[in-house]
Symmetry: C2
Subunit: 209 residues, 2 copies
């Protein structure tokens, strides 16, 4: 999808994710997401419908191009946090590190169109799959760090709540329009209370032992 290693031989690509995403964005503005077919997009980009699926696996993926590119770093960001930090602090650090990549000038399509997510079931599906992917990353990290099972309630609850708060922050940030600054303060404000709440529970459980 995003970066692909340039192969040493074979037919060169006629298009790119970026070209297709740009063509799609124009069309979405002109005729809305639902009013644009994949064929419309590929036609504007000068390739055939089939080719679209060489670059994306779904129409909705073009909206997430930038988000996917950044959000993929969450696992690394979490791993990079010094291991002596308490869990919730580490999570905070990891998420903020990812959020830093989004400045006022870089607002992914998927976020600006956040309200439209509920419009089309394709968009809903694409959004949930991203959400779940991040929850999963976070959940594994938490379970490992706390020595719990991946299926225990706590890792899952923390992960879902934190990612939920972060997504809410991103949505509010996108809604803020031109007055918005960086994403980071929004995310910090949204997730800090959640982190504090769970850290308190973890501390209490630890001191009881």
């Amino acid at each position: 999808m995003g970066k692909t290693v340039r192969p040493t031989s074979g037919r060169p690509r006629l298009s790119s994710c970026q070209i297709l995403a740009d063509a799609a964005s124009e069309l979405f503005l002109e005729r809305t997401y639902a009013g644009t077919t994949i064929e419309d997009i590929t036609q504007r980009a000068g390739v055939s419908r089939s080719t679209f699926f060489n670059y994306f696996s779904a129409k909705s993926d073009v909206l997430w191009l930038e988000v996917d590119a950044s959000v993929i770093h969450l696992a690394d960001a979490l791993a990079a946090v010094p291991s002596d930090e308490p869990v919730m602090a580490a999570i905070r650090r990891g998420l903020l590190a990812v959020a830093v990549e989004f400045g006022p000038g870089r607002v992914p399509w998927a976020l600006t169109q956040c309200d439209l997510m509920a419009t089309s079931s394709e968009l809903e599906a694409s959004a949930l799959s991203r959400f779940l992917a991040q929850v999963k990353v976070l959940r594994e990290f938490i379970a490992a760090k706390l020595g719990l099972d991946r299926d225990d309630l706590l890792p899952q609850a923390i992960a879902t709540a934190v990612i939920g708060a972060a997504v809410a922050a991103a949505a509010a940030w996108a809604r803020a329009g031109v007055t918005r600054g960086a994403l980071t303060p929004y995310v910090a404000e949204a997730i800090s209370p959640v982190c504090a709440g769970f850290q308190a529970v973890l501390d209490a459980a630890a001191s009881k032992r």
Copy 2:
């Protein structure tokens, strides 16, 4: 979908949501969700494909029949909480009131199949649309109670985090198998830290004024 007033005249219904959902559940067990077409379902239920859409608006809706029926009470449950309760306590009460409706014997299909959600994009879409609906209800409640705008970060962050935690609880509860008891303690454990975290922020903000 669920309850419909029996009309005084007109052709009587040949089927019902329950009949279709039962037929669907059998088939999903036999051939998986993706391997079952709407036509398969209606055929087993003895009606035509078109009729399916008189009862449900999507194939995935049959999985959510029970969840939808209970979850619709959240707004009422929130409204029923005495207005002198602090916001986060009220939210807790509201969610627990809804959770009470699910006992060990009543585990909705959608929850038992929770892991399969990521399998099909139809299922993803159906799940997110439920999630967002509950977030919206909660967000309105919070915004009203705090005198904030619906679009402010705080109501949205609280709502998304809390519903996220509650969903995680429901998933863990469903996963617990026969050993699971009531849903309530799961939900309480998952959302209490979130509520505590946000309540602390709200108290701090209030005392500063």
